[in-house]
Symmetry: C2
Subunit: 308 residues, 2 copies
Amino acid sequence: MNQNEIKVFCPATVANVSCGFDVLGVALDSVGDEMVIRKVPQKGIKITKLTGQDLPKETLNNVAGVAGNAFLLASDYDGGFEIEIDKKIKPGSGIGSSAASSAGAVWAMNHLLGNPFSKTELVKFAMEGERLASDVAHADNVAPALFGGFTLVRSYSPLDIISIPAPTELYVTIIHPQIEIKTSDSRKILKTTISMETGIKQWGNVGGLVAGLFKEDYALIGRSLEDHIVEPIRSILIPGFDEVKKVSIEAGALGSGISGSGPSIFAFSKGKESALKVGNAMKSVYDKIGIAYEIHVSKINMEGVKLL
Amino acid sequence: MNQNEIKVFCPATVANVSCGFDVLGVALDSVGDEMVIRKVPQKGIKITKLTGQDLPKETLNNVAGVAGNAFLLASDYDGGFEIEIDKKIKPGSGIGSSAASSAGAVWAMNHLLGNPFSKTELVKFAMEGERLASDVAHADNVAPALFGGFTLVRSYSPLDIISIPAPTELYVTIIHPQIEIKTSDSRKILKTTISMETGIKQWGNVGGLVAGLFKEDYALIGRSLEDHIVEPIRSILIPGFDEVKKVSIEAGALGSGISGSGPSIFAFSKGKESALKVGNAMKSVYDKIGIAYEIHVSKINMEGVKLL
């Protein structure tokens, strides 16, 4: 590789994190895509290679292409980029597949040009990829993919991304049952109003989760993983959800919920051993039901997209 | 005074703190009531003296009496307490007048008996005083009055109070226009549902405020002092509110909002000098309108109710 070409790791992410619908997200350390980005004199973005998944390679139909175009439009660079994507995160899994590609593309382009843009500006470009993927330019996956750790999207207008620390022994277990739910569909079933009473519970839990992460208080993190708004509705679309959550907690998880818009289910644990035990408990549910699955156990990724 | 009698300072508190309706609160250092609590062999609570404000002295009609009864009911102590209250916080001011009396009473009783109860248990007793004052047993004033600093009521059932640190240079300016709004009335005008969109903004700000307090990031604290749910409605009841908020920010405040259910308006500042400037700006508005006011400038009280 020369200095005009880099290879990056693009982390999978868990958005919402139970109570933090549309605002919270966290990046995973050992689950993600790999991308090669090459600076070329020809204007525009070209996806030259796409392996691992069956996804469109045309620039305007690919999230990395769309995010890259948003980047180019704001940049004074007058060349272009070629992109190779080795897609390891399955689309529709609920662990930020589109966000990984969008974030990876813009992070790498920024790196190759000497970092003219801030991370928050990169989030804006990557959000255009999210708009293509799910009709909504949400930031709760691309923000942790770019910043690493936990992120809070305090405000969308103006965009205000806050980094939140994570205690070192926090592990994430993810089970992805092999059924497909489109993000756009899973948004459609949500209600447009909530009761004040439910709202109060929700922002109490968001405050509790943020405080727990700063205090490294694992029990408080666990208690705050409650979602009275989205989970009761979306979990209907995920076979075995209640059972997976129940056995995860019984196996020692701090808490559990839907990853993003599902169907993946996440659980937080203190320590790797506990996270692996939770994984086994989760598997047993889908083994019984007879649904194929993938399982991931990961530390928190504290830096976001990184050079390989 | 003998060992059966103590004198305590009971801090005023700002509940809600803009975005944290019903969950956040903060205690003030230099504004509060004074109470003397005396352990006596006679069963029950007796309010022997009440100065400063015209309030009922009968145990069942006084918040300190009601909170004290809740304490006695849970305790295995079979004597009683006499209470003297020097009420400096005006009832109906929106800075936790009833909470100060309720919290002070149960904290002092607990102290006199060798602290058999935890602070969270004391919050439960003091909440009974709040139920008398406003028909709702809310905890967002009594929690900071007892714990000090900022507190988050993560959950009411079970009651879960989280202490949140405050940066040392954070100051509070309060202006209390001399008009009366009953807490019960100001709750009635609130809506029982909110839009999902508004909810997302609100829990984004709660997360931002909690993160800002941990990070000692004054600008983030300021940006998070937004309330899209309660302030737009309740501020209608407070003459000059928009103007007070505007001039406070112009004078250098980090942010400003309604204290509790009003009519007091609070602003946060970095440093005492800035907080005093904000106070002068606030005064100018009510001088112009011709409404009498009281003004307070205070540091954060980090310990809650304390011995004098």
